[in-house]
């Protein structure tokens, strides 16, 4: 028996466990690229539009943080818009997949059971990596096909698919390593995702510090981009030279990390990591005592990550607001239609704040679905076995999520106002207007919160899927997307996000009251139903 004995069996087990999860990831990413590329095709009917938009993307430093323009073609433009999203998601898919089959197995004790069989110590990590690599390699041709289906050149399309897949491959290697470094599943995926964030930051900074050629259409990066697996995908330049040789870099990185990880796995004790688990406090701080303290403690890390993210977005959007003022063509029309005003800058802010409302609603969904996780994992039982009434427990969760959402919206608006103030001036006024406009999104966010509570109370076993489905529907029906999908006005009005247009228009108090009433109705239904039902695993 050597360190890899049993890899085949573990591989089959991992594939069996992941057959739906990975299929959803791969097909979901393919569908996303299919859709966004289609939007670019439809949104840029003439070559003139393509040139205009590409120039905007290539010359604007804020936009370059997220893209590296490769020339004036629909394919290159679609990549500028979507590559980063798809690449980051592919990296996340790889990290979660590898951790699921390594550290998580180990933490839950399954690995012990498996390793008691004829299974070598490194078989688990190698099997996990193979599964993740298989998903990444399936992604490459499918993403290529998604672009080819939109009429894009074959070579560029396949290069685009390969660029994304390479990011996934690199992070499968990174996760193999982090799953050996950390001694908990959460630590391993946290380290892996931190790696994704660092890769994003490096490529963003590298792209921003780069320069644009004389035509204003092709951007090239500075050196930091070359240090980042996400940056390598930019450097492959799909639809702009197709530098296939760049793929050597992620291959070398992944191979090296996997070999190190497998070597270490073969030598270490079960349950050990390079980074030992730290001892914590022997006593709870006064803040932790009580259901509110617990709810905040469980949300804290996620909240901080969200806050950093929305502030980052706020700064980026604020810094591009200057160019938004001079936008032309299709983009200009889109913002004007979205914002419902002829004042382009206000229209831009309005649409950004609407997007922020949706992001924050996603935070609230995630935060409130914690309730279901607590219940299904059996951790609600000891809480309710204390002197905590069900309404008080639900209130603590709602309050934490609601205050968090308020802080996120305010943080986003303040960041956007500060960055925009540097570009267009008038910071104090902007700060006030944008924060008020962002807080006007809260009623819509609360509708989603109320709906999640009602779903949790009435359909506990389906709560996760139904809640996200409700949010996705509300987003699709919202003016940002509903209008592009040419949905009728009444359908758009069904979305809670359709009823405020600040700062373009004054905050509609009537709409605030009506939307809040919906939120309260959902919330009351949820409270009442949860008081009456059994706890279910």
């Amino acid at each position: 028996m050597n360190a890899l004995t049993g890899t085949g069996r573990l591989l089959r087990l991992a594939l069996r466990r992941d057959r739906f999860v990975l299929a959803f990831w791969v097909l979901g990413l393919t569908g996303f690229l299919l859709g966004t590329t289609h939007m670019s095709v439809v949104g840029l009917p003439t070559h003139h539009d393509v040139v205009n938009e590409t120039r905007f993307m290539a010359t604007n430093p804020g936009m370059r943080l997220m893209s590296l323009s490769a020339g004036a073609s629909i394919g290159a433009y679609a990549m500028s818009r979507s590559y980063l999203t798809v690449a980051v998601l592919a990296a996340v898919m790889s990290v979660l997949c590898v951790v699921r089959h390594t550290r998580q197995n180990e933490e839950t004790g399954r690995d012990e059971l498996l390793r008691a069989g004829v299974v070598g110590p490194a078989a688990g990590v190698v099997a996990a990596v193979i599964v993740a690599l298989a998903a990444d390699l399936a992604l490459a041709p499918l993403l290529g096909l998604a672009m080819i289906a939109n009429g894009q050149p074959v070579a560029g399309s396949l290069a685009a698919g390969a660029a994304v897949a390479a990011v996934g491959v690199a992070f499968a290697g990174v996760a193999a390593l982090t799953s050996q470094l950390a001694s908990s599943a959460r630590g391993a995926s946290g380290l892996g995702l931190a790696g994704v964030a660092v890769a994003f930051a490096l490529s963003g900074v590298g792209n921003m510090l780069g320069h644009v050629d004389a035509s204003g259409l092709v951007a090239s990066s500075a050196w930091p981009t070359w240090l980042s697996p996400i940056g390598w995908g930019f450097e492959l330049r799909p639809f702009g030279g197709d530098h296939w040789w760049v793929l050597v870099l992620p291959a070398i990185l992944a191979a090296a990390f996997i070999v190190v990880a497998a070597r270490y796995a073969a030598r270490r004790d079960l349950g050990r990591g390079v980074l030992a688990a730290k001892a914590g406090r022997a006593q709870a701080s006064p803040r932790l005592r009580g259901p509110f303290g617990l709810a905040w403690r469980l949300q804290r890390n996620a909240f901080i990550a969200w806050l950093v993210t929305v502030i980052g977005f706020g700064l980026i959007f604020g810094s591009v607001s200057g160019s938004a003022r001079t936008m032309t063509g299709n983009m200009r029309e889109w913002y004007l239609r979205m914002g419902g005003t002829s004042h382009l800058l206000d229209a831009f802010f309005t649409s950004m704040i609407e997007l922020a409302g949706m992001m924050v609603a996603a935070y609230v969904v995630q935060a409130l679905l914690r309730m279901r996780e607590e219940e299904s994992r059996g951790r609600l039982e000891p809480v309710l076995a204390g002197a905590v009434s069900r309404p008080r427990w639900v209130a603590s969760q709602l309050m934490t999520a609601g205050l968090g959402a308020t802080a996120l919206l305010a943080g986003f608006a303040a960041a956007m106002a500060l960055a925009a103030g540097l570009v267009v001036g008038g910071t104090p006024g902007l700060l006030r207007d944008l924060v008020v406009a962002a807080l006007a999104q809260m009623p819509a966010v609360l509708v989603i919160a109320g709906a999640v509570l009602a779903v949790f109370a009435l359909l506990p076993r389906r709560a996760v899927a139904v809640s996200w489905l409700l949010l996705a529907t509300s987003i699709l029906l919202s003016p940002v997307f509903g209008a592009s999908l040419r949905l009728p006005q009444w359908a758009i009005h069904l979305s809670p996000f359709a009823h405020q247009k600040a700062p373009a228009l004054a905050v509609g108090t009537g709409a605030v009251v009506v939307v809040l009433a919906c939120a309260v109705a959902f919330g009351v239904a949820g409270f009442a139903a949860f008081r009456r039902r059994d706890l279910v695993a």
């Binding site: 959460r186 914590g280 006593q283 709870a284 932790l288 617990l294 951790r379 076995a385 002197a387 059994d534």
Partner: protein
Amino acid sequence: MTAAISVGGLVKSYGSRRALDQLDLTVLAGEVHGFLGPNGAGKTTTLRILLGLLRKDGGAASVLGMDPWRDAAALHRRLAYVPGEVSLWPNLTGGEVIDLLGSLRGGLDRARRAELIERFQLDPTKKCRAYSKGNRQKVALVAAFAAGAELYLLDEPTSGLDPLMAAVFADCVREAHAAGAAVLLSSHILSEVEALCGRVTIIRAGRTADTGSFEELRHLTRTTVVVETARPLDGLAGLPGVHDVMVNDRRAELSVDHADLNRVLEHFVACGVRSLTTTPPTLEELFLRHYQDAGDAMGGSAAAGATGDAETTGRIAEIEEAVA
């Protein structure tokens, strides 16, 4: 004396499956009451109803004179609970969880907390994700016993503890009893119940099979006798009240109903007794017989064995689930 727990005709169904079917249970104030039954008999369901985590479908239940569903929060200030499967927040330390659970009940005794952590040899600075099953159990036990409740609901509380820690647990139960608290101890470890409990309720398939003190229950059962005689033992099997006879010439092993003990001894004496050992019935035997008889009634399957098999099958199913 008033009852700490009084349950009558309790019914609970999960869909078409009846988990509790007319269950009766009375725990008197200040007594340690054993709640015995095999896996799946409905012990945990009963405890969850008593905690107001599940809603009863029928019957009556009152805990410390309160309605466990309606008065849940107020009631929980007065009781402490240790779940069978202790699931904790992976990113909190054991010490934090003890304080948290204590504060949710309305505070705990700091000195008692420190003493219990010492006695259970728990490291309170470790994150819960790093704890073994036994250590998670200790966290729940420390949180419960540091609280000083009027009633303790303990659901198979020693299932992950080693014998030394199980002894510490037993001391804690005795201390709670001495302090006047009532304890409902659900278990399938019979020796533990026998050592700690004054009365027991045996539950099978959601129904109370028997309840009473050990003395009362022992009357229902048989004494095991091993005897050696001078002359060969004949005709033992024909005697009334004699069961499970194994005769090997002049040595016999058998069990005897209490009522018929005298007559059987006379028979031995007639054969010239050389040595005689009698073993009083353990709860173990009582327990096995309950299911044996029930099994016979249900079609002759050896229910004691079947219980074991069901447990093994359950474990395998759990493992498969975990792998999937």
